[in-house]
């Protein structure tokens, strides 16, 4: 009886360094996604050692973190960002690596384009020098973020030295309420188990509410596994998975497709498989979530209040809460609905896929952003998502409502390009991290779903999206 994680692990073991069950294992990597920020030193290291990439066709590269989201025809104005993107271009040219350049329609956030291209397939090990690689686990992959030394290791050897993690299953049973999305599920789980609750674990999400999610929703959920501390999140294969993949450019075709699907069907935990930890949530009880602090576990429901540190007995925890509230400029016991954002960001590898944009557009259609909103922006996850949205007229819906419609990239999720918050500015953001300074020095981030961000844009403060559509 094996878990999905056991199966994915076992099918990639090249060599075990010790006889101990939890020793270091050499694990084969099927797909290596590369972006401009965490790769230059790896390519340099490879060259200095006189080594070559082991398997070029496993690599797909794209620049996403540094790229501007306006006026791409003018190139990248920041010379340091430009050099980093050009370094990726040069490395890919020199070594013959497939790369989607900045002005390619297929360019976008690495965790959006992998699945979109069918470059992420069930049963794969997928790595990228980016913690949100957990996203790809939505396709029953073993997908996790790595550091630059490991990027070099995978380039040179197609393998990684790993220790097997413990296994956790997070069950979400029942039906999600109207207006409740995968983002709310993710934040509710993190609120429950904490930002380190998944540390040392590979997490499988299961249960009827997970099976009901679209692939976009599953990607949102697995994306946030790392915010619960779990390096990898994953979901078993079903019809939703295979229907999403079929016909995508890198997906198998013809006989190979049939053969692949037959194998992919086995990628689920066996009945009775044992997990080291099981957490269960009742779907019907999950409400729209809004973070109030500087860690994703600092989260409340939209009908709740900012907590009061005076009620916390643990000293370290109380100090952290006080520090977070000070940073966020929030008084204890403030109703979440009274919090008024200055900016709205709809984007990121968490929530910039077509379904996310549709959900937000549905809320803002025929309405306009409130007077206190200084900037509301939509940054599609890829050129193809942007194109699709434009075909559906979503760009017009957003523009008419007062949103800016941008070019694809990571943008204000981490503010490496020009899209950022100023000191003290408050943002309703569909991204994944509300850390201090994440969206700009002194910026204050509230993580929410796309529909909740859109609703806050229209109302000028957080509102319960279930009451408006």
């Amino acid at each position: 009886m094996q878990t999905l994680y056991d199966k994915l692990w076992q099918s990639h073991v090249v060599h075990e360094e010790s006889d101990e069950p939890d020793g270091m294992t050499l694990l084969y990597i099927d797909r290596h996604l590369v972006h401009e920020v965490t790769s230059p030193q790896a390519f340099e290291g490879l060259k200095l050692a006189g080594r070559k990439p082991w398997r070029l066709d496993s690599i797909l590269a794209v620049a996403d973190h540094n790229v501007p989201t306006t006026r791409r025809d003018r190139g990248i104005s920041d010379p340091i960002s430009r050099l980093q993107v050009e370094t990726l271009d040069d490395n890919c040219d020199e070594l013959g690596i497939t790369e989607f350049r900045m002005n390619d329609l297929r360019q976008g956030i690495v965790h959006v384009i992998g699945p979109e291209q069918g470059a992420t397939l069930p049963g794969m090990t997928v790595v990228c020098g980016d913690s949100h690689t957990s996203t790809h686990g939505a396709f029953a992959c073993l997908a996790f973020g790595i550091g630059t030394s490991e990027v070099e290791h995978v380039l040179a050897t197609q393998c990684l030295l790993m220790k097997k993690a413990r296994s956790m299953r997070v069950m979400v049973e029942g039906k999600l309420g109207h207006g409740i999305t995968a983002k709310d599920v993710a934040l509710a789980i993190i609120g429950e188990i904490g930002t380190a609750g998944g540390t040392g674990y590979a997490v499988e999400f299961a249960g009827s509410a997970i099976r009901d999610l679209s692939m976009e929703g599953r990607m949102t959920l697995c994306n946030m596994a790392i915010e619960a501390g779990a390096r990898a999140g994953m979901i078993a294969v079903d019809d939703t998975t295979t229907e999403y993949i079929q016909g995508r450019p890198f997906a198998p075709k013809g006989d190979l497709w049939d053969k692949a699907v037959a194998y992919w069907r086995t990628l689920k935990s066996d009945e009775g498989a044992r997990f080291d930890k099981v957490v269960t949530l009742e779907a019907a009880r999950i409400k729209p979530q809004v973070t109030w602090g500087t860690s994703p576990e600092m989260v409340a429901t939209v009908d709740g209040n900012v907590p009061d540190p005076a009620q916390i007995s643990d000293i370290v925890q109380r100090h952290d809460m006080e520090r977070a509230l000070k940073y966020m400029g929030l008084a204890p016991n403030t109703p979440i609905r009274e919090i008024r954002p200055d900016k709205i960001f709809i984007g990121s590898c968490t929530n910039a896929r077509i379904e996310d944009l549709r959900a937000a557009a549905k809320v803002v259609e025929g309405k306009h952003i409130a007077g206190n909103i200084k900037l509301a922006m939509v940054v599609p996850g890829s050129g193809l998502v942007k194109h699709q949205a434009e075909q559906e007229g979503l760009d017009k819906v957003f523009r008419d409502a007062g949103f800016e419609w941008r070019e694809p990239g990571c943008s204000m999720c981490l503010a490496m390009n020009d899209d950022r918050l100023g000191p003290g500015e408050r943002c309703a953001s569909t991204s994944n991290r509300n850390f201090e300074g994440r969206q700009g020095l002194g910026g204050r981030t509230h993580l929410v779903s796309p529909a909740m961000a859109a609703a806050a844009a229209v109302a000028g403060h957080f509102v319960d999206v279930r009451e408006i559509y």
């Binding site: 340099e44 050099l83 053969k259 692949a260 991290r433």
Partner: protein
Amino acid sequence: MKKFNFCDGLVAPLDRANVDTDAIIPKQFLKSIKRSGFGQNLFDEWRYLDHGEPGMDSSKRRLDGGFVLNLPRYSGAQILLARANFGCGSSREHAPWALQDYGFEAIIAPSFADIFFNNCFKIGLLPIVLDTHKVDQLFQEVEATEGYRLMVNLRDQSVTTPGGDSFLFDIDPFRKHSLLNGLDEIGLTLQHADRIKAFEDKHRDSQPWLFA
């Protein structure tokens, strides 16, 4: 990779939980294509009062005198004492690079985030997990005693206080061996090149679509 055997070092306490890698090294410094020079921007938003950008002369920037690493008594610290879930968030190896470039050789905490923990071993920076109550004791001692030092011995897997308390820590034997000898892990893995090729052939036979 830098070798690690032992470290007799001055300790600096960073008394907050969930210190994320965005705080350890903010994103604007990740635009560098180099592997060195990140130490001056370690904890940039906490260390300095002004906004830092790549290329700035750090010696001319305004320091936040209240931040622990700016206190004279912790100048030259080599061991960072931290709280739970240190290094959470982004996978950026720039975080361990910055800590090492600043001068830290070991970090002691009750727990670390997985990716950060793993990244440290790749460069010879030693992350040490000790029980919360032991970490609490060390925080109390370091705050009470100016010039407080700890002796970290990797071979014995021990941390020894000036008062003679010795705490043992766990480490994977392979990682320990690599650190003690400063081994090149890529070189080690390439010694298994035949095994990797054999695995790849078998993998191609069973899942040919992965190689199409």
